[in-house]
């Protein structure tokens, strides 16, 4: 950290085992990217925030009233430079509040417009998303985000409509998604969030909507730079075999890479707030080098647009330089940060497989897998995950992973665990002593 340029808007640091065994031809790297607290962008950028609200029949009554109040509170928290809008959808979508600056007058107008909103009709996610896209394309230079809320399955969707709409939204705006209650499908909501660089979460009841929206508005307001890309340069003959975000959540980005030149691939990594940091795992296959030879295997950099100009930020600490040795004590050492995320991924897989096994009635596998998850969560001090697991299983001995499935489980607890299974604990910042 000391070697970094304190004025650089982004700092990159890579963690890996720099020595490969003789003939070694692959390595795994964890690259941390951290945005600067100050000076991330020269001039503040315009922000647009849309609320996309499910107004289907099941929302009528308490839920829709709670959501209205939450939207009003969220809008009131915006500063006057922000632009906001509200869209409501059932089988079709309509504009409740067209995009406008968050001035005191327009905030009042918005709350009276929301009074007319009531729940009726079916649920087709694509209508709300498509309308949001149509509004947001008009702000090409702004940081565009949306907050999406539903309480049901995407059941009135026209066949084949959803996928093309979602594809069209990618790159136009980012979207955090919420499911209210438990009568919605995790996979459907997660898909929207995953593709649109956001997070899917569960809101147990109408009472908690306001708090969730307040947090989301704060998050949207904190973003300072949009459409950031992670650029990876690698020499001839090497192959990037995998790129995954590992923290805050596990997201496989391998398929989203865009090849810029034979040696350069770029991956979109969304919008960033000052001080935000994320970790990425890069797997790379290299042609084995001679003993003692030194090679730059990957050079990551962060690329974004500022005032119409492309900025590329490189850090010396981000470079991945490897060598080959016959000393097995050196080459067999696993970098602690790489090991940490390998463990967190194993944890996520154990939870997902365990919940799936319980769903099909295979209690034996579910007990074993969720027990393994409890053990891994405890070992990695992932206390949030341990707490979530304890709502689904009774822990007898965390160290050995001995658990019993709870006989009656709150459905919300299960859905919450599934949604959060890919949320990882951040690798510790302090250096870990090598064994």
């Amino acid at each position: 950290m000391a070697s970094s340029d304190p004025t650089a808007p982004f700092h990159l640091e890579s963690y890996y085992t720099p020595t490969l065994p003789e003939g070694g031809d692959h390595l795994t790297v964890v690259t941390s990217i951290e945005a600067a607290q100050a000076g991330l962008v020269a001039a503040p950028q315009q922000r647009v925030l849309l609320f996309i609200i499910d107004k289907s029949g099941s929302m009528s009554g308490n839920p829709i009233e709670a959501v209205k109040q939450a939207v009003i509170q969220g809008v009131n928290a915006l500063d006057e430079q922000s632009i906001f809008g509200v869209i409501a959808f059932d089988e079709t979508a309509s504009i409740v509040v067209p995009p406008r600056p968050a001035t005191p007058g327009d905030k009042t107008n918005a709350s009276s417009a929301l009074h007319w909103l009531h729940g009726s009709g079916g649920t087709a996610f694509s209508t709300g998303l498509d309308l949001a896209r149509g509004l947001l394309v008009n702000y090409p230079d702004a940081i565009r985000r949306a907050i999406f809320l539903t309480d049901g399955n995407n059941e009135t969707e026209r066949p084949g409509a959803f996928e093309p709409v979602l594809n069209a939204c990618v790159g136009v705006f980012e979207c955090d998604c919420w499911g209210l209650g438990t009568k919605w499908t995790v996979g459907e909501v997660q898909e929207v969030a995953r593709r649109l660089n956001g997070k899917a979460s569960l809101i147990p009841g109408p009472g908690e909507v306001a708090a969730a929206f307040r947090a989301a508005v704060e998050k949207a307001a904190s973003k300072a730079v949009a459409n950031v890309r992670l650029r990876l340069w690698s020499p001839q003959g090497t192959q990037l075999t995998l790129l995954k975000q590992m923290n805050p959540t596990i997201e496989d980005l391998s398929a989203s890479g865009v090849r810029i030149s034979p040696q350069v691939v770029e991956y979109p990594i969304g919008s960033w707030a000052p001080g935000e940091s994320r970790d990425y795992q890069i797997d790379v296959a290299v042609p084995p080098g001679g003993l003692g030879e030194e090679m730059l295997a990957v050079r990551p950099s962060v690329v974004y647009q500022q005032a119409g100009q492309e900025q590329e930020i490189r850090s010396p600490a981000g470079r991945v330089v490897i060598t080959w040795t016959t000393d097995e004590a050196l080459s067999s050492r696993i970098n602690p940060r790489v090991a940490h995320y390998t463990g967190q991924e194993e944890l996520a897989q154990a939870i997902q497989a365990g919940l799936e096994a319980r769903e099909r009635g295979d209690d034996e596998s579910a007990t074993r897998l969720l027990g393994k998850a409890v053990r891994l969560a405890t070992e990695s001090d992932n206390d949030d995950m341990t707490a979530r697991l304890k709502r689904v299983v009774d822990v007898e001995d965390a160290a050995s992973g001995t658990v019993r499935l709870k006989r009656s489980v709150d459905k919300a607890a299960t859905m919450d665990l599934e949604l959060e299974s890919t949320t990882t604990k951040r690798a510790t910042r302090r250096p870990v002593a090598n064994p």
Partner: protein, 239 residues
């Protein structure tokens, strides 16, 4: 600027083509690079196979006698079985005539200026002769191309838990984690393939019997391998 491997580099520190540290560039960790580039062959030359005691051929991955794997430390089959196979293979009438045309087709092609190769991986639903509804063939999977510039390219299925990261990582469920190896001779650019004892075997150019595990077979332009449930790998020269 010219790098130690002869590329023109635009970067003074690491070659902008191959990533090798440029001569004279300050070494970050001098201790790491301290071992002078002593001929690696010399160290490797004195190495003997821990399984049968045979001297290791320089840079060879497998022991010539017992097929012990120097890289992974996995033993080859018992020496007597390996010997029996080696003797039996050429005598097998089904294999000998089939192997000959492949070798003759490939060998003259390689010296004729083919420097670099690539492997084209495609999904052929026609190969999935016994479809399993639980494992649907991904008929819409795009064709993928892998350069074969390394001396060895592993083909297989990735395994995080077993630490297997093939250069050509495929998701076909019928492919073994370590399925086959594609070798490229760095001087002649001749390609060879060897099955690594895969569960479901490697089939060359539609032949009914799979390749003998551990035996290198030369391949050339338009030679095809069929592996797993539906995967086809075609070799072709890269301009």
């Amino acid at each position: 600027m010219i790098c130690p491997k002869g590329h023109t580099s635009t970067d003074p520190e690491f070659c902008s083509e191959c990533g090798t540290r440029m001569a004279g560039a300050a070494l970050a960790g001098a201790a790491v690079a301290a071992p002078s580039p002593a001929p690696p062959a010399a160290t490797a030359g004195v190495q003997t196979c821990p399984q049968c005691g045979m001297e290791r051929k320089p840079d060879a991955r497998f022991c010539e006698t017992c097929r012990y794997d120097f890289r992974t430390g996995l033993p080859g089959p018992p020496p007597d079985a390996a010997g029996a196979q080696a003797v039996a293979a050429p005598a097998d009438p089904a294999l000998t005539p089939a192997a000959a045309p492949a070798a003759s087709a490939a060998s003259p092609a390689a010296p004729a200026g083919v420097r670099f190769w690539e492997a084209v991986v495609s999904v052929d639903p026609g190969l999935d002769v016994d479809p399993d509804p639980a494992l649907p063939c991904p008929t819409d999977a795009p064709e993928r191309t892998f350069p074969l510039d390394s001396p060895e390219s592993l083909v297989g299925r990735r395994s995080q838990s077993r630490g297997i990261f093939p250069a050509i990582a495929l998701s076909d469920p019928g492919i073994s984690h370590r399925h086959l190896m594609i070798y490229r001779d760095t001087t002649s650019s001749q390609l060879e393939v060897a099955d690594l004892g895969s569960t479901n075997g490697t089939f060359l150019n539609g032949r009914p019997s799979p390749l003998e595990p551990g035996v290198k077979t030369p391949v050339g332009p338009d030679d095809r391998l069929e592996i797993g449930r539906w995967t086809r790998i075609t070799f072709r020269p890269r301009p």
